[in-house]
Amino acid sequence: MALDNVWVFAEAADGRVKTITLEMLAKAREIADEVSCFYAGAGDDVAETLGEHGASTVFATGDLDDALLGPPVAAAIAAKIAADGAPDLIMFGTTYDGRDVAGRLSAKLGAPVITNVADLIVNGEDVAGVEPVFGGSTNVTTRFKGEAVKIVLVRPKSFAAESAGGSVADVEDLDVPEVGNTGTAKVTARFMEETSGPKLEEAAIVVSGGRGLGEAAKYAMVEQLAKLLKAAPGASRAIVDAGWVPYSYQVGQTGKVVKPTVYLACGISGATQHMVGMKGAKYIIAINKDKEAPIFSIADLGIVGDVHKVMPKLIEALQGR
């Protein structure tokens, strides 16, 4: 049931290969005999980690001179296909750059993209993607047909990252074709606004707040609780849009997908677009004053109560330990 050859678009941040890349590699080596990566940067920086996780070769573009990645990386992949033929599948993570490259490549090659993929089903040469819709209540399976190159965009946390004990991947430098006008968008400065403490996507516990907190200042309760639990603070879109916390805190369809051991939702109603980002948590606890709130339908423990009463007591109890 295996494919011959799968390519994975690899990404790194702060010198570390991103988790989404390692998750895709785990699936790629399960479904294919040979896995290669494309990387926008110096291949030597990532060859060890990618090799350890099952990639045999890293095709690297080298420095791209602060260009946004979509046009040059798509052009480099298309050129590689023109020279050496297409793989059976190309996997991208649903990330800012992953989407850009996948979209550009799709238009270049006239190839379809199956998006929001949470699982892949391979049957001989046949590939299908499983996509959760309506807040994860329904799964839609979509199969590639026709001869075009197959491109998928994979949701984070769909597969478990695991070392394959592989050796350092070979590095092959790519020629990046001239992309002209399309490649003229350049990054002139980069700004970080991440908080201290564990990262939202990696924390074992996530404490999230929503509009039920009432006002921006009350988000401090979420932060305090998160600190006590060594958790990452998160948020619903309602309070991100209201400007209470930065977008990087948002959990859900248009925010981050989290899969912690415990997810504690405080004053969050449980809209489908929120649930699709957190319903993979092992345990869900919810505090909401409305006993009909949809969040209770997926919570392992639901407290029908006022966040302004329950949270301060919880904070006090944890401080006393």
Binding site: G70, A74, T95, Y96, R99, D100, G103, R104, S106, A107, G110, P112, V113, I114, T115, V133, F134, G136, T138, N139, V140, T141, T142, R143, F144, K145, G180, N181, T182, A185, V187, R190, E193, I205, L229, V240, D241, Y247, S248, Q253, T254, V262, K279, Y283, I284, I287, K291, F296, S297, I298, D300, L301, G302, I303, V304, K309, V310, M311, K313, A317
Partner: protein, 268 residues
């Protein structure tokens, strides 16, 4: 793509999707395997930010036009009228039975062909639609038009012949600069979309909406629709539901339930 047909000011095209009201529970038609489009059709809220942004940019530029481009079945104009009532000048609507089942790339081909007729300085889209949310259409459009693009914009500033964008990233944001014309996709919340005024609603009724077919755009029917797509839905299934657990009313001891729960999991 900038042409001499415009004489002054800034010309922006905003892609606006008209979708079933997300407040009404969605469902897929088991026969056609597409989203059921019954019920109330509205302007995708995600696109109201692009419309507002375009109106503000044109005002800052001291004049110009905001044109809309939409692809929707059945000659639907309800969402377009909302955006026209906000202040957009005119619209192109592509509606054609051969578009049934069109995937994201097919949608991008149609939108790109319609946009090209307007020769804009700037094309705005949302980063992803509320109903399909593939998020690939903006960069597909840009590639088809041979334009640079900046996705995930949280602010946009026009600076002469280029656009400066704060682009959302995983850990913060990047400042990106790019020459015009360009495609920029905006995130929700970048601006506060205005409510259409009564005057705006009245004016919208007589604003021009040009209705086009796939053939009018010079595309062939086999590039779009079910035939043109490289994919097919093979199964729609309910996923394993998460069961509701214990729900307790807080009588002052609710916090202790949480402490116990966490203790049992040995996470505290």
């Amino acid at each position: 793509m900038r042409s001499a047909q415009h004489n002054s000011g800034m010309h922006v095209v905003v892609c606006v999707k008209q979708i079933p009201d997300p407040a009404e529970p969605g469902s897929l038609d088991p026969a056609t395997k597409t989203l059921k489009r019954s019920g109330n059709i509205i302007l995708d809220e995600s696109d109201s930010y692009g419309v507002e942004m375009a109106l503000q940019l044109v005002t800052s530029a001291g004049g110009g036009t905001v044109s809309l481009v939409s692809m929707a079945p059945g000659g639907e104009t309800k969402g377009l009228r909302t955006a026209l009532a906000m202040g957009a000048s005119d619209a192109i609507l592509v509606s054609d039975p051969v578009l049934n089942g069109t995937d994201a790339l097919g949608t991008a081909k149609v939108l790109a062909a319609a946009i090209a007729r307007k020769s804009p300085d700037l094309v705005l889209t949302a980063t992803e639609s509320s109903d399909g949310y593939t998020g690939t259409v903006p960069s597909q459009i840009a590639e088809l038009l041979g334009l640079p693009s900046v996705t995930f914009a949280r602010s946009i500033e026009i600076n002469g012949q280029s656009v400066n964008v704060r682009r959302q990233t995983e850990s913060g944001y990047d400042e990106v600069t790019c020459p015009l014309p360009a495609v920029v996709s905006v995130t929700a919340g970048v601006v506060e979309p205005r409510y259409p005024s009564f005057k705006g609603i009245m004016a919208a009724k007589s604003k021009p909406v040009e209705a086009l077919t796939v053939a009018d755009l010079g595309l062939s029917a086999d590039e779009v629709g079910w035939a043109g797509g490289g994919q097919e839905i093979v199964e729609i299934a309910a996923s394993e539901a998460r069961e509701a657990g214990r729900v307790v009313e807080d009588e002052g001891e609710g916090y202790a339930e949480i402490v116990n729960f966490l203790e049992n999991l040995k996470v505290i």
